[in-house]
C-alpha cells in the first residue's frame, strides 16, 4: 500500500501516512474534539504575577490574537509591561542555569547580564525602528512598535527557557568543556534569535496588510534585525565573560567585538591559534 499523495510505503493498518501525514482512511471519526480549535478566544489574563506571565502561553498559542490587539491598539500598556516582564524573567532563569554551571560569582552575574544584553540592546535600537517606520509611512505608534519588539524579545527569552533543561544538562555533565559550552549556547541563541525575528516579521506583516508600505517595512525590518545584531554583539562583548568564573563583573573595557573577531580570524588563518 502506498500513500496517494506522496507515494511513501504505508505500514499495514496505518491510518495516516508517516511521511506526509495524509489520512489513509477517508472516514475519520467525527466525534473527537480536535486539538486545534482555529480561533478559540483565550480567557482574559489575570493581573497578578501569574496572570502577567501567562503572556508566555499567549505568545506561543494565541499570537494571532495578540497581534490583532496590537493592531487595534488595545491594552498596549499592559502588553508592553507583561512582554518585558516575560523577557526578563525567562532570561534571568536561563542566565542562572548557565551561571550555576560555570560556578563562582558567575552564578550571580550571568542572570543579570543576559536580560541586560537583551533589554538594553533593544532600548538602544528601538528609536531607530520607530522613526524609520514612521518615515516610511507605516503609521504605527511608538507604543505599537514597542510592544511588537518587546514581544519579539520575549519570544527569544521563552525559547531560551524551553531549552534551559538541555543547556543545564550538557553544561553540568561536561564540566570544563569551555569550547563545547560556547558552541552549545551559540546554537541555542541562534535558534532563539530566529524565533524572535520570526515573531517580529510576522507581527509587522500583519500590522501592514492591505497597506502599500508593506514591502518597504519588510526591508526596514530586515535591516533593523542586522542593526540589533551588531549592537547586541558589541553589548554582549562589553559584558563578557559569561562562561569563565571570574570575580569581576565585567572585564576592563577594551577592544570591540568586530576587531576581536578579525583578530581571531587572522590568528586562526596564520596558524598561531593551533
Amino acid at each position: 500500500m502506498t500513500c496517494v499523495r506522496c507515494g511513501a510505503d504505508l505500514p499495514e493498518q496505518s491510518s495516516f501516512c508517516p511521511s506526509c501525514g495524509r489520512p489513509v482512511a477517508p472516514d475519520k471519526p467525527p466525534e473527537e474534539s480536535p486539538v486545534n480549535v482555529p480561533q478559540a478566544p483565550p480567557a482574559p489574563r489575570g493581573t497578578g504575577l501569574v496572570g502577567r506571565l501567562s503572556l508566555i502561553e499567549w505568545l506561543l498559542k494565541y499570537r494571532a490574537h495578540v497581534i490583532q490587539d496590537i493592531r487595534e491598539r488595545r491594552h498596549l500598556g499592559r502588553y508592553a509591561v507583561d512582554a518585558l516582564l516575560a523577557a526578563i524573567v525567562c532570561s534571568i532563569f536561563y542566565g542562572f542555569v548557565v551561571g550555576v554551571s560555570v560556578g563562582g560569582w558567575q552564578t550571580l552575574y550571568d542572570p543579570i547580564k543576559l536580560p541586560w544584553v537583551l533589554v538594553f540592546t533593544l532600548l538602544l535600537c528601538l528609536p531607530t525602528l520607530y522613526v524609520f517606520s514612521a518615515y516610511l509611512g507605516s503609521g504605527l505608534s511608538l507604543a505599537q512598535v514597542s510592544v511588537v519588539t518587546f514581544g519579539a524579545t520575549a519570544m527569544v527569552s521563552i525559547t531560551l527557557l524551553a531549552f534551559a533543561p538541555v543547556t543545564w544538562f550538557f553544561m553540568f555533565t561536561a564540566p570544563g568543556s569551555h569550547h563545547f559550552w560556547v558552541l552549545l549556547n551559540v546554537v541555542i541563541f541562534a535558534v532563539a534569535g530566529a524565533f524572535g525575528v520570526s515573531f517580529l516579521v510576522r507581527a509587522m506583516r500583519e500590522l501592514h496588510t492591505q497597506r502599500a508600505e508593506l514591502p518597504k517595512v519588510r526591508r526596514l525590518v530586515r535591516w533593523w534585525v542586522v542593526l540589533y545584531g551588531v549592537v547586541g554583539a558589541q553589548m554582549s562583548w562589553l559584558l563578557r565573560p559569561y562562561f569563565t568564573a571570574t570575580e569581576v563583573f565585567i572585564r576592563p573595557r577594551g577592544g570591540n567585538f568586530f576587531v576581536a573577531v578579525l583578530q581571531t580570524l587572522a590568528e586562526w588563518l596564520s596558524g598561531r591559534g593551533w
Binding site: Q13, P29, P34, V35, T159, V166, T173, F180
Partner: protein, 240 residues
C-alpha cells in the same frame, strides 16, 4: 472522548495483557485518544509504567550478561536514559509545537513522544530473545555484545521514530498544522537524540561490571568531544 470516562477507556486502550495488540493493531483508537487532554493524562502514566517495565526487563538481561551489581544498575539505567532525556527535552517540544500552531497540552505533547518510546521498547523486547541468545551462546566477547545491542537499538529506535511520526500525524486534524508538527517532530527527534547520546554516554558502562553506578563527571567532557577524539584517533592519528 468524554472527559469523565477517559481513564477507564484508557485502561481498555492499553491493557497490560495486550500491549502489542492495542499499540500496533488498534493504533487508530490510541492515536484518536491523544486528541483529548484527559485521556492523554491517563495515557502518560500508563505508558510511562510500560516503558519502565519493558526497558527495565531489557536492562536486566544486559545486566545479567555483565554480572555483579550491573544487574541492578542496568535495570535502572535503561528506563532512566529514555525517560530522563524526555524530561529534559519536553519543554522544547512543547514550545516548537505551540509555534507550529498546535494547541497541545503538556500531557498531549508528552503522550505523543511516549507512544514512540513505547513502540521502541516493545520492539526492543521482541528482539531480546534473539539478542540474549547471541550474547550468551558464544564466547563472552564485549565488542560483539555491544555491536548486536547497537543493532537492536537502531532497529527499535527506527520503528519508534516512525511510530511517533504516525502518532503526530494523527494528533492533528488541521492539514497545515499537521504538516508543520511533523516537521517539528523530525527536528525535535534530533534534539532528543543528541541529549540521549550524552545521557547514555554519561551512564556508561552497560556491558561490563563497574563498582560505581556512574563515573565521576569531568572524565572527558561531552559525548561529542569523545566521538571527535575517537574519529581523530581512528582516521587521522592512525596514519602516523
Amino acid at each position: 472522548m468524554a472527559r469523565t470516562g477517559a481513564p477507564a477507556q484508557v485502561r481498555a486502550l492499553l491493557p497490560l495483557g495486550g500491549v502489542v495488540g492495542s499499540l500496533f493493531h488498534r493504533r487508530a483508537e490510541l492515536f484518536a485518544a491523544l486528541r483529548s487532554d484527559a485521556a492523554a493524562r491517563a495515557l502518560v502514566l500508563r505508558m510511562t509504567a510500560y516503558v519502565v517495565l519493558f526497558a527495565g526487563a531489557y536492562g536486566l538481561v544486559i545486566g545479567i550478561y555483565a554480572g555483579g551489581w550491573q544487574v541492578v544498575y542496568d535495570l535502572v539505567k535503561l528506563p532512566w536514559v529514555l525517560l530522563a532525556t524526555l524530561a529534559l527535552s519536553a519543554a522544547s517540544l512543547y514550545l516548537l509545537n505551540a509555534l507550529a500552531g498546535a494547541r497541545m497540552s503538556w500531557a498531549q505533547t508528552i503522550a505523543v513522544v511516549l507512544t514512540g518510546l513505547l513502540a521502541t521498547v516493545t520492539v526492543l523486547l521482541a528482539l531480546l530473545p534473539v539478542v540474549a541468545f547471541l550474547m550468551f551462546s558464544g564466547d563472552r566477547d564485549y565488542y560483539f555484545a555491544v555491536f548486536i545491542n547497537v543493532v537492536a537499538f537502531a532497529i527499535a529506535g527506527w520503528c519508534g521514530a516512525r511510530f511517533a511520526m504516525e502518532a503526530t500525524a494523527a494528533a492533528h486534524e488541521d492539514e497545515r498544522t499537521r504538516g508543520r508538527c511533523l516537521a517539528v517532530m523530525r527536528w525535535w527527534m534530533a534534539v532528543y537524540g543528541l541529549v540521549g547520546m550524552q545521557m547514555a554516554w554519561l551512564l556508561r558502562p552497560y556491558f561490563r561490571q563497574a563498582d560505581v553506578f556512574i563515573r565521576p563527571l569531568g572524565e572527558g567532557g561531552s559525548v561529542f568531544e569523545a566521538l571527535a577524539r575517537l574519529v581523530w584517533k581512528v582516521l587521522v592519528a592512525g596514519w602516523f
